[in-house]
Symmetry: C2
């Protein structure tokens, strides 16, 4: 998959009127972030060296059962916010910074005035 650039994920909210499908896609991403347990898991993983963590490291601190943690990690993985890597018996989840950045971009202020000035080609 052509990883690279910020991602094909999110149409910006404030730049133009969102279509139903764009809105649905963006909402899915936000829904993945709309749970306290998942946000804590993200922060726990981010706090680890390399921004990656083994599942067995997460069940304790989160205070959630192992099935629940596994479920949340799957949701975050499906949303593209985490990537999964199996190493022997253990599974490591790693934060995907580009995806987080894409979500931030979706909330970016309107580009309007600056862009028109920068262009400067119309009259």
């Amino acid at each position: 998959m052509a990883t690279a650039k910020i991602s094909p994920c999110c149409s910006p909210v404030l730049h133009a009127r969102l279509g139903k499908d764009d809105a649905a896609e963006l909402a899915t991403t936000f829904r993945a972030l709309a749970d306290p347990g998942r946000l804590r898991l993200l922060s726990f993983i981010a706090a680890q060296p390399g921004a990656e963590a083994c599942v067995c490291y997460l069940t304790g601190p989160s205070g959630l059962s192992q099935p629940t943690v596994s479920h949340h990690l799957k949701v975050l993985n499906d949303a593209g916010l985490l990537e999964r890597e199996k190493r022997g018996t253990w599974v490591y989840y790693r934060i995907v910074p580009a995806r987080l950045e894409a979500v931030r971009e979706a909330l970016a202020p309107v580009p309007s005035e600056k862009k028109r000035v920068a262009r400067g080609h119309e009259r």
Copy 2:
């Protein structure tokens, strides 16, 4: 100090381990953004001059019933993403850019990996 100005809203996800309270608060904000209808309403309002819109302007384009639109606007208002102003018979909702910016900040990358390492002994 342009950095710490933003808002009292959101503890950053990637900077440190989130406590349960911080996570719950942040999750509430994301939950407000986790619905296609609300995202579209935000974009519709943002597209209007002054980033504000009358409710009567929103019911049509959104394709939602008036009670549903009213409900969504209340959720966004409670989340601090919209502010409400009554003008005569009409009610105008306006986007709160600072709040959007605060959400973006909550997803900002870690301050600096090297700074943390350079500090040496912490746990």
